[in-house]
Symmetry: C2
Subunit: 248 residues, 2 copies
């Protein structure tokens, strides 16, 4: 089941396992935080846009009673590795993978059919920063194949009224996040800033928005990854259990 | 110089003093944080919209080399007390008070003449919450006389290109803050969330926006008022010096 350079990690969650390639593509803390931030009701229809290794569908498979968890991934090699992870776990009853761009959603899903849409999109705007030579990382980190607006508009197209959108992104793009959510009728309802330590600026923000929602934004208590002494916080231990595999 | 119920407090800043009425109108920590958050260059033309006791102009008078600090206050009784504070400090060379609504700005100022506009506006939307019987507090806390959109549009009308807008508000109104700033061409450039303690959700947010600006939003390190043990943080001691007079 493994190709060269790959390894299998135990998610410490109902015996679920995941294939990763330390030199290619591994999941990050952001995906784990997002999967734990999402609210998924029993029998929900869920889509994870840009699923990468498949970490988010696997966590939701283990933790929720979602009826179906769809996943899209544009990068063929990562999607193929992800599919092997899904098959290894026998998740085909509730996880369905499509290897295509989110821009082609209409080929696979009906408008407004989802109860929950998640994404951990590329953080860097097109043409910003240095493009990584590794194609995996370039597409995962840059908006070359789909922009922030594409992710948000696609989520809006797929969500039913009062359906929920969960995303993790960089705080420096908050103005765009609000702009596009407003444009596509997703009301931002909750933000959680994620800080390396309590005294540092946040480097990620968790966003919950509701399709055709209204009312106030709750900026909730921050999530600190490390204590001031560098140890992981209790909250991170709770989220990760024994599953921690990477840096931050 | 004092009316019944009033007292004089020393700002511990270049011998500046301020009149407050503990049963009527006192300045809050929010105004002090905003005055310290603002960036005011030498010779800047500044406006504080809804100045209340005049705390913000007095701090800026003591701490900056602004050329002129304009202040507007709609409530006659508070404005009269504020004027007595200004006169007591002999600040008439650099502080000018107007007793009127910010909606009448065109009667006093030229379009785009300000380098910096500040406001610590009422936090509560019209008709939300219970109106306080005390008129002072009703106008100071509710948007009866001017809405959040009015404050932001007025700031935009008064700021020159690249002029700076500084505001403190409640985090739950962030979506509107972004919406109106975008609508009136004020690019949100920095947010600082203010928390009672590191583990609580923020109850205030400091906002910096630039007229006709562009680019990323910096969500800076949070400002904590208290340590977990309830003592004031070092940062608050630095901002306040000996001037702390109220609760939080």
């Amino acid at each position: 089941v493994l190709k060269e350079g790959e390894r299998i990690d135990d998610l410490q969650l109902k015996n679920l396992k995941i294939i990763q390639n330390p030199k290619g593509f591994c999941f990050g803390v952001d995906a784990v935080l997002l999967a734990n931030f999402a609210e998924v009701k029993n029998n929900a229809k869920v889509l994870d846009m840009g699923t990468g290794t498949g970490i988010i569908p696997l966590i939701l498979y283990g933790k929720t009673k979602a009826k179906i968890i769809h996943a899209m991934e544009i990068q063929k090699e990562v999607a193929e590795m992800c599919l092997r992870s899904f098959n290894m776990n026998n998740t085909e009853d509730r996880i369905k993978l499509v290897t295509d761009s989110i821009l082609n959603w209409q080929s696979y899903y009906k408008k407004h059919e989802m109860d929950v849409v998640l994404c951990n999109p590329p953080y860097k705007a097109i043409n910003s920063g240095i493009l990584n030579n590794n194609d995996y990382k370039t597409i995962s980190r840059h908006e070359n194949s789909a922009t922030l607006e594409d992710f948000i508009s696609t989520a809006s197209n797929l969500l039913n009224s009062k359906g929920k959108f969960f995303m993790i992104h960089r705080p420096h793009r908050l103005a765009e996040i609000f702009e596009y959510c407003t444009k596509y009728r997703l009301a931002v309802k909750k933000l959680v800033f994620v800080h390396g330590k309590p005294t540092t600026k946040p480097n990620m923000v968790l966003v919950k928005a509701i399709k055709e929602g209204k009312g106030e934004v709750l900026v909730d208590a921050p999530l600190y990854v490390h204590n001031e002494d560098g140890t992981y916080t209790q909250k991170i231990h709770e989220i990760y259990g024994e599953m921690w595999t990477g840096g931050f």
